[in-house]
Amino acid sequence: MQKVFIMGGAQTDFERNWTKEGKGLLALLKESVSDGLAAAGLTFDDIKELNKVNKVGCFVGNFIGELYAEQGHLGALVTMVDKALYGVPTARYEAACASSSAAIDAAFSKIALGEYEVAVVIGWELMKTVDSKTGGDFLGHAAFYEEEGKGISFPFPKLFGKLADELIAKYSLDENVFMDSLAKISAKNYSNAKKNPLAQTRKWFMDYEQARHRGTPTNQLVGGRLAVSDCSQVTDGAAVVVLASEGYLAKRGLKNNPYIKGWGHRVAPMPFQDKMQDSLSSPYVLPWTRQAIEDAYRRSGLTVQDIDVFETHDCFTSSEYAAISAFGITVPGEEYKAIQDGIITFEGSKPVNPSGGLIGCGHPVGASGARMLLDLYKQVSGAAGAYQVHNVRNAMMLNIGGSATTNYSYIVGR
């Protein structure tokens, strides 16, 4: 097995609404792929050369472009970006909100096995093509649609509202302490996003008081005890990350690029109730999420002590809450302590989501995994600008699909 390095990449500005700009998926792909390659120091001619010897591939992560953008065969679509991509092996990978992590997984394998020298991961989703209610129904396909999605208005906030209920019940938590902890997560992620020039919410106002007061006209309840401030917002966007072999970096005279040190991939039972039934015997509310992270630690030979920054899948505040113990930052049941003590804030000892995460930076679902990997790369290579955490050697991400059904974790370091 060979080491898999990251050459760089780019994300689009998640504030943008491509439908309002009158632009569709081709414009999004052209822009993100050309920007991603340029940021990695590659040209389309480089891709052409690599393709002559079958040493490059494109790996597309997208959840449900068939519905949002009325387009299937999304791997092949990449050939329309530039003629240099004619003949390049491309395919689309789907695992709901973890789609681009599945694409990273495939890309990683090809390089680790020595088959390819360069692998271009392209995660994207256009979500502003439909109104929020229709979009909410589309997203319901990431759950067991027949029972958990169909005919239910905004199914996912409700599922993660149930996760909040389960956390309180499992650990006998004080409800106020728990809900205030969720408000702190929201305020933290909005605050971090202010430092990120590509974050969807960078101009929005949110503070702890606004997040804490749920059920008001400007912070309505949307899923059980969760309100708008507890949710990530839908947006349009793409993120491109270029992976490469050690040999290819050497050819280009590159040294010290960050590499993927470990990975974990576990899939939990799909229906939420089955997940909860399955977790009764575990100290963790999401044991397969924890397992994916443990696998990444094991493969990298690292522990939570070695990780300097985390990017996690805060589709809702309750999912970031559960991730805190899954990462091993606290034992399960004591996540609120890490929040109260400021451990996961930007200045804390274990910063979580310095980018703003899904709540602050935005969540174009098929792009989020690639966006996280790109952010790990930026943090490890000191290129995160205003949201750079000091002295990052190793960084970890957790990207989940559905109600924490597909769980992907990667560790990037030097």
């Binding site: 632009k23 792909l29 008081e209 606004q210």
Partner: protein, 435 residues
Amino acid sequence: MSIRTVTVIGANGTMGRNVSAIFASFGNAKVHMVCRDMEKAKEAVEKAVQSVKADSIRRNLLPADFSTLLDCVRESDLVFDSVAENMEIKGEVIGQIRDALPQDAYFCSGTSGLSITKLAEMLPEEKRRNVFGVHFFNPPYSLNLCELIKTNYSDVNKHQKLREYLSSCLHRSVVEIKDRPAFLGNRIGFQFLNEAMQYAQRCQDSGGIDYIDSILGPFSGRSMPPLVTSDFVGLDIHQAIVDNLYSNLASGDKEAYKMPDFAVSLVKEGRLGRKTKGGLYKTLILSENDKKRLVFDIASSTYRDQIEYNFSFAQKAIHHLARGDYQAAAFSIFNNESQEAEICTEFLLKYIFYSLQASLEVGNSTHDADVVMVHGYGWCPPQAMLEWISSTGMLHSISKERLPKSFQEIFDIDMLLGVAQKSGFDYRRYLHAKK
């Protein structure tokens, strides 16, 4: 620096209440919203809450009327003037508060173009060092530009601290501007808007208003066509801004700010735009669910149905933009010799050169022009526009060929191209694939 208490005078106006919300939210300051009467003040509080979509700031918003003005001012760290754009009215208000204003408190005016120096001179000498122009754009929640204007009286330290507060605490994009008429953003923006109005008059036989708006549609770098924008802003406000520039600019470029006769007449007749249900455009309500938009036909001085123009250059540009082919879109516009493409090209080129020139006169660098147009108007910034046109390799030649000789006599094209910098902004997001 800590700004704990703010008084906004004239908080019933759109800017006054929206600015109150910015101080109360990002700044977490207690804000006295001083309005004409308490009822208006209470309404303003609710509208302010809505403007930042956060009920949590209601705790910071205190309705007030002029009967308690002095008490509010006495306990304020910053007093913000948002009363009518009229030197006399502002003078009266300043006269009222001049003694109550604490020695160290800031006095900031939100004026969109009156002289800050003259306002400062209405205060006693020892308080003039605390006077600044702090010009927000509407709506400030989404347009976060703040033009910061100091005067010769301003205290350097206070200026630095205010700048820091506006950018770090209130999350504003701050640009320091000299105390000149209309500052920078409106000087650039209203050159474009007013010349669009002048061209509408000149091209009245080709259609006039909707003709020009179709030539300068969203595909050319603004989400809203220019004359729709003026109608939205209000023709009276448009007039106040361009009149101010026309009377106070010395240089030869002032003609761009002369409001055309037809628009002056509309203002006289009270047809001010959207707020009066008629101006350059007019919405006709046919039934509960059926509306029709009419346009003012300059040639016949009547409202008529809008014309669906289908200029081939625009259609091609839109087709390419929709697919992300920006260079091809640029060729569609700049390599086309139809009358409409030439007008579009002329406007975009003038926009670039006016911006560069104005930024040198009023700002500190050409980058300031980009910042004000992005964060104050949401338009494609001039230097990014320049990069887009440059992608055709034709920038220099079309600048020389398409710009009127009279323009080139006033603006030194080569010098301005020489001082232009690489824009920190990306033009792509501002070029919309829409008519």
